[in-house]
Assembly symmetry: C2
Homo-oligomer: 160 residues x 2
Amino acid sequence: MDGSLEALDVIERQTAVLVRHFEMFYRRTDIHDDLDRAEYLLLRTLSEVGPQDINTLAAALGLDPSTAGRQVSALDRQGLVARAPAANDRRRSIITPTAAGLRRMEAVRTARAESLADLLGGWTEEELHTLGAMFTKYNGAVARKFLAGAAEEPVTAATR
Amino acid sequence: MDGSLEALDVIERQTAVLVRHFEMFYRRTDIHDDLDRAEYLLLRTLSEVGPQDINTLAAALGLDPSTAGRQVSALDRQGLVARAPAANDRRRSIITPTAAGLRRMEAVRTARAESLADLLGGWTEEELHTLGAMFTKYNGAVARKFLAGAAEEPVTAATR
DNA sequence: GTTAATATCGGCATTATACCGATGAATGTC
DNA sequence: GACATTCATCGGTATAATGCCGATATTAAC
């Protein structure tokens, strides 16, 4: 168990640093000038799992519904998502990304991938795969612990 | 290069999710009630590299000096750091963690490690090592790109 | 003596979030 | 049909963390 404790110490420290580094990345690039991180992830999620009502979306993202609603409103105002009552329950509002929303998201996605390619330019293909797999596995653990409906594969942990 | 592109896509997506997950972790646990993330990392850094002046500390953390100063002031008010003029240049203020500060930091560190132990309870020792190594390597890449004085091993990428 | 460096302090602003509550429309229950 | 519940919208209030800017005082360099 000594080795695991040591590894956990490393992970603990590196996650503290990771948070700072994500913040740095975010503030020092212009990638998220037109679509902030939260909006990007929301659009990304919608593009992957299809139209959702607010509550389902909020649960998938681990957000408070009022926060999800606020983000959706912001995107709606920008014409990046559309809202329509659900066919089987008009109290529910189904959120759909618009074509413009998907284009915006793709642009950010591309820019992010390019920035990462630059950052990790010296890594081997195997290392990149390992990093992706480790991030995915960690996210999966978090999702299972914190996200409702985690009996199935949580949305935010999906590999896609 | 196809495999690398695919891996970068995975990494790109998982980092977007990671940010949300760190936020969730932060808000849904009480670990950072007495010491917020930024303060924790600052104290942690000081404990590892020893007393620093504000500008060096800010550079190590990738922060604006006024932000670092703000954090130091907050910690000073809580008696968790001490400030003293440098012996060789009294314009400089050397920041030192107090015993109380180190104790506070250790308490948070322990709580974080325990929380991670719970989260990653089903992982093998090898997987934990790999995760730690990948986080470390990624942080190293970020530090080299964004942190000044990165000719030497950047502080925030250190394994310790 | 003049100029520059250093830190302190705070104004202003942004990002992302949670909790709370009021409101109105739609649905469910009896 | 009446009443209770659900759902989303909206916004108030607050927090955490940050950057850019500038004023100020002290100290160091020239």
